[in-house]
Structure formats: structure tokens, C-alpha cells
């Protein structure tokens, strides 16, 4: 989609979320004190899923209107397939890492408890479970959610076009049912559940989609949105103060963690309302405060983030790999603060550069070839492709 017609805020914040996911996935990373989860009840996962729903509705909504439901469905499922392949790719890398660790590791002090490679004893089951998205090792858990959400998205899109509430209402009811009953989706190995409970997280994705569907309708929402804006500001501020107090309390104990006893732990698997409500409030505040044509979004400084947001799948996968690599470097060699900052910087640079290269590659691919070139090199090109 051409950059000029895009709401750059979407790309910018998705890019930022991807950088934060990278940072938060490196354990004991000092920079994680400066990501959203340090100051808000929600974290980059909410931003990522919400914006993904929003963008999906925006992009495939246009496809639906201009090219019909069949093609829109094919496009969406094609995207889900891409995500699936990416997930399997990440899984293979995870297996390689674990296999290597397990075979070179032999100390009876740990052998009995740290058996992270147990699944290697029944690879025929583990791999099938991974193919079925039921095996979700740590940090390989958000793509299965995204894949599942895209798989049902054609129906969501048709519903949204017909009557948004036909989709939103059941989605909300399902979310509330999860909160009331704690029902979860089983995973592998026995006793595990989907880390991101799709029955709960679908609501966030679909809410994003409802907002993103058919850009024109957004105006209808703007008036009631403005009316509750003060309330949203209050919610965001209260959430900010409380969560920041927890973060400070974690670093410096004498500082009190407000409502820590009452509110903690806040359930992420089921997307507790304590996470969801401040997130929606923050979306409202950001949408109201940051104008679509905010100059910063077009500036060279914001460009890398916008590009990361536009190449979200590749950059997400790269971020997951880089955080595993960063974790490896920090635990294997040195985790002094200087090295931590260096690892973060290198990772963010790699993500931004990759986004830049991908953008260049895709832009070149979209450029129409001069006629003469087509006639001359067309057939051989086709053979090569």
C-alpha cells in the first residue's frame, strides 16, 4: 500500500511496539525499564495485536470493497500462510538452540529439573504439535494467536461490512465469558494452555478491526470518543502512576507499590480488564492527542520506526531471533550495563536496517518495468522467478 495514503501513526506505533517486544524479550535487560510495561498495565503485545487488527481491516477492507469477498479471503489466508511459515521457521531455530544446549549439557545438579529438551524425546509428537500450533515454546506464542485470528478474519470482515455490532457483540461476550469462567485453550505438552488465550485476545484484535474497517466510519466514533476523553485521560494517568510505582518499588524497595497487594498479579493470558481498559483508554488518548499529520511522523528521525511498522512480520520474526541472540550474548559473555546497551543498540539497528532493505526491495518489485526491458528480458525473468 502506498506510503502516502497510510495513517503513519499506525506504522509508527507498530514499529515502536516491535522494538519494545525485542527489548522486553531479553531477560534482565536494563532497557526494559523504559518500555511500556514499566509504566502501563499493558505492554507491546496489546499494541501489536490491536494495530494488527486495525491494519488488517483497513487493508483487506479495501480489497473486499474493490475486488470482492473471494479475493479478499484469498489474500487474508495467503497472509496467514506467510505467518505460519514464519512461525515454523522460528520453531526450527528454537529446536536447534535447545538440542544444542541439551546435548552439550550434563550436570546431575540440574539434570532432573531443567529438562527443557524433553520434547526431543518424542520428536514425532512435538513436531506435529508444533505444526498444529499446539506447541508454543516461550516467545513463540504470539504468532499462533495472530495466525488463528487471521484464519477467522474473512468472516469477521464480512460481518463488519454488514453490521459491526454483529461481530463486536459476540466477540465482547466471548471475552467476558473467559473472564468469568477462566476457560482456556489446551496446548502441548499435556497441561499447557495457549499463552495468549485466543478466546480472550480475539476481542482486542476485532476491536482494532472494527475501528480500522472503512476509514470513513471513524468519524462516527469521534464524537462519543471526545466525550469520554477526560475519563480516558484519568484512567491512563492512574494506570501510569500505579504501574510506575510498582516498577520503582521493584528497583528500590522502600518506595511503596500502590495497590500491589490488591491488583497484582494482573493476568496476561486472559487479557485481564486491568490490562485491557487502560489500553483502550491509552488508544483513545493517543488518537486524540497525536494528529494524523503530526510532523514528526514524516521526519527522518521517525522514518526507521515507520518502516519497521510497515514490514511488521519480518521485523517481528527478526526481533524474536535477535532477542534470543542478545540473551545468549549477555548470559554467555558479559551482562554489564554497557554491554546490555550495546546489544540493544545492535539489535535495534539491525531491525531498522532490515526494514529499510525490505522497503527498498518491495518498492523495486512494485515498480513498472520499462516496455523495452519487459520485451527483452521478460521471458528469462519469468523463468528465473
Amino acid at each position: 500500500m502506498p506510503a502516502s495514503s497510510r495513517d503513519l501513526r499506525i506504522d509508527f506505533f507498530r514499529g515502536l511496539a516491535l522494538i519494545f517486544i525485542f527489548i522486553d524479550h531479553i531477560p534482565e535487560n536494563i532497557l526494559s525499564y523504559f518500555t511500556i510495561q514499566a509504566i502501563g498495565f499493558f505492554d507491546a503485545a496489546e499494541v501489536f495485536i490491536f494495530i494488527s487488527g486495525y491494519t488488517a481491516a483497513l487493508v483487506y477492507g479495501q480489497t473486499l470493497v474493490s475486488q470482492g469477498p473471494l479475493y479478499a479471503t484469498a489474500r487474508i489466508l495467503g497472509r496467514a500462510w506467510q505467518l505460519y511459515v514464519a512461525h515454523i521457521f522460528l520453531f526450527v531455530i528454537f529446536v536447534a538452540e535447545v538440542s544444542y544446549t541439551v546435548t552439550t549439557f550434563n550436570n546431575p545438579m540440574y539434570n532432573d529439573e531443567m529438562r527443557v529438551g524433553d520434547f526431543l524425546e518424542e520428536p514425532h509428537i512435538a513436531i506435529v504439535k508444533a505444526l498444529l500450533l499446539e506447541f508454543q515454546p516461550t516467545f513463540l506464542d504470539i504468532l499462533p494467536l495472530y495466525i488463528l485470528l487471521l484464519a477467522i478474519f474473512p468472516a469477521v470482515l464480512l460481518g463488519l461490512r454488514w453490521r459491526p455490532f454483529i461481530v463486536l457483540l459476540p466477540s465482547l461476550l466471548l471475552y467476558l465469558a473467559v473472564q468469568a469462567t477462566n476457560v482456556s485453550v489446551p496446548a502441548y505438552p499435556e497441561g499447557h494452555v495457549w499463552y495468549f488465550n485466543p478466546l480472550a485476545w480475539q476481542f482486542l484484535f476485532i476491536a482494532g478491526a472494527a475501528l480500522g474497517f472503512n476509514g470513513g466510519r471513524r468519524r462516527r466514533w469521534s464524537k462519543p470518543a471526545r466525550a469520554i476523553l477526560p475519563l480516558a485521560v484519568v484512567v491512563v494517568t492512574v494506570g501510569f502512576v500505579i504501574k510506575l510505582s510498582w516498577t520503582i518499588h521493584g528497583v528500590w524497595d522502600p518506595f511503596p507499590g500502590f495497590f500491589l497487594r490488591e491488583l497484582w498479579p494482573v493476568n496476561k493470558n486472559n487479557l485481564s480488564p486491568v490490562r485491557l481498559i487502560p489500553f483502550f483508554a491509552a488508544v483513545g488518548v493517543v488518537a486524540a492527542v497525536v494528529p494524523t499529520d503530526w510532523g514528526v511522523l514524516d521526519s527522518p528521525a521517525a522514518r526507521p520506526l515507520v518502516l519497521c511498522g510497515q514490514q511488521s512480520l519480518e521485523i517481528f520474526c527478526l526481533g524474536i531471533l535477535l532477542s534470543a541472540l542478545g540473551h545468549f550474548v549477555l548470559s554467555e559473555y558479559d551482562s554489564a550495563i554497557g554491554i546490555q546497551l550495546l546489544v540493544n543498540l545492535a539489535g535495534i539497528l539491525a531491525m531498522c536496517l532490515t526494514a529499510r532493505v525490505l522497503d527498498w526491495y518491495k518498492t523495486m518489485g512494485r515498480m513498472p518495468m520499462p516496455n523495452s526491458a519487459v520485451t527483452r528480458s521478460g521471458p528469462s525473468n519469468r523463468l528465473g522467478a
Binding site: 534482565e28 550436570n107 500491589l260
Partner: protein, 255 residues
């Protein structure tokens, strides 16, 4: 507060400084086993919460029963015998220090159990022993299996509530540090959760993970390249150190 784990990135320079300080000024009262290189920085030995029921029993010279529930490192079989596991060693140290009470530390370790599975053992393995104190070593299997970290925290909370309802003092022990698996197991979230549960409940969390990491970094113990015939001996020495530090912590909490 408890010994802090969640702040590791910030705490580590302080740890190093403390390590240097410990090298220059030897600790005043090496509480146990002078020959063993078990020393840890002072902030890992910070104990805030009291053990009132245990204190009362010891003051009155009454018999004391402590249950240690946990995983493989509580069982202690890696050392070759449960006589070398930390619960037995702890019992011996405490018996020396408090000779007027008869002290028993019951070992209820079962390898590879999640916090939930241990909690389910409370009614059979813990409560019937009528302990005055429970030492609960947990979190490893939860981290290895990737149990939801919020669920893990909620489980430990339930366990603490249950023990408190029986008037039992509690000490939590966090995970073992292992350099080799550090890259494939993400302990940090579980450590933070465990320490936070201790924090909100005024229950001490014994920072075994940070201690073992410190020993590993100071090359006091080489956990990785250990030769086959030395492995059991290494485990025994580590359990001995853990027991010593644990006894120190209990003594501080009794003051």
C-alpha cells in the same frame, strides 16, 4: 524487603562492589564452615521478615519441626544421598545452634514438580507433619515448562495463604542458577514473580539463584565443566553452602 532479584541489571555493579569489599574485608562472623567458599555479597543476606512461630518455639525450648518441600535440589540425590541434601544439613546446623530444642527438618522434595503440583501435596506431605515452619523451594519446573507466570504467582499465593492459615512460618527458596541453560530457560519472569509474592506477603525469599550465580561468576564453583567423578561432590558442596546460608538467614529472621 526481601533480597531483590528483579533489579539484577541495576544490582550487579553493586554485587561486584560488594564482592570486592568482601575480598578486602573478610566477613566478621563466618557463620558456618570456615573452610567452604560460600561467601556472598551482603545484600543477598538481607532478611526483613520475622519467623515468629519458630522464634517462640525455640525460646521455649520446645521441639521444632520444619518441612522442606521442593524439587530435585531439595531431594538432593545429585549429591549421592539425601543425607547430603540441604534439609539434612540445615537440621544439623540448627541443632548445633539451638541445642535446647529438638529440631527436625523433614525432606519432602519430589523432582520435577510445578508449584501447583507441590501445592496439591500440602494436605498429605506438609500439613500432617504439623510443622512450625515450611521452606518452599519452587519455580524451576514452572519456568522450564513455561507455565503462565501469573498462574505461577497465584499458586504460590494460595500456598502462602494456606500455610499462614495454619499458623506456619514460611521461607521461599528460588531457583538454582545454571549457566548452561540460562540461554534457553527464561527464569527472570518467574524469579520476579516469586520475589514479588514474597514481598506482598511479608515472606522471605531466599535468593539461591543470585547466590549460585555469584559463586559461578567468582569461580568458586564451576557448575559447567565439572568432571564426571566430581559431580556428586560438587553438588554436595553447593547444598552445604545453601544450607549454611539458609541457616544464617533463619538466624537473622529470628532476631
Amino acid at each position: 524487603m526481601r533480597w531483590r532479584i528483579p533489579v539484577v541489571p541495576l544490582a550487579r555493579p553493586a554485587l561486584l562492589a560488594a564482592g570486592l569489599a568482601a575480598a578486602v574485608f573478610p566477613p566478621l562472623s563466618p557463620a558456618f564452615g570456615d573452610a567452604l567458599p560460600c561467601d556472598v555479597p551482603e545484600e543477598l543476606m538481607q532478611v526483613d521478615d520475622k519467623l515468629p512461630h519458630l522464634a517462640e518455639r525455640l525460646r521455649a525450648g520446645q521441639p521444632v519441626r520444619i518441612v522442606a518441600i521442593g524439587g530435585a535440589s531439595t531431594t538432593g540425590l545429585a549429591a549421592g544421598s539425601s543425607d547430603l541434601a540441604y534439609p539434612r544439613r540445615l537440621q544439623e546446623i540448627l541443632a548445633q545452634w539451638y541445642p535446647s530444642s529438638s529440631i527436625t527438618v523433614v525432606n519432602r522434595g519430589v523432582p520435577r514438580q510445578t508449584a501447583q503440583q507441590m501445592l496439591e501435596r500440602f494436605p498429605t506431605d506438609v500439613i500432617p507433619e504439623d510443622p512450625v515452619m515450611v521452606i518452599w523451594e519452587t519455580g524451576t519446573t514452572d519456568a522450564v515448562r513455561g507455565v503462565g507466570v501469573d498462574d505461577f504467582a497465584a499458586t504460590v499465593q494460595t500456598g502462602i495463604d494456606e500455610l499462614k492459615a495454619h499458623g506456619i512460618d514460611i521461607m521461599l527458596i528460588d531457583m538454582q542458577f545454571s549457566h548452561s541453560t540460562a540461554t534457553v530457560i527464561d527464569f527472570e519472569r518467574y524469579l520476579s514473580a516469586l520475589h514479588r509474592v514474597g514481598d506482598v506477603n511479608d515472606v522471605n525469599v531466599f535468593p539461591r539463584f543470585e547466590m549460585m550465580r555469584y559463586w559461578s561468576e567468582q569461580n568458586m564453583f564451576n557448575f559447567d565443566g565439572v568432571a564426571k567423578d566430581e559431580r556428586a561432590g560438587l553438588a554436595a558442596r553447593v547444598y552445604e553452602c545453601i544450607a549454611g546460608k539458609l541457616a544464617d538467614a533463619i538466624r537473622v529472621a529470628l532476631r
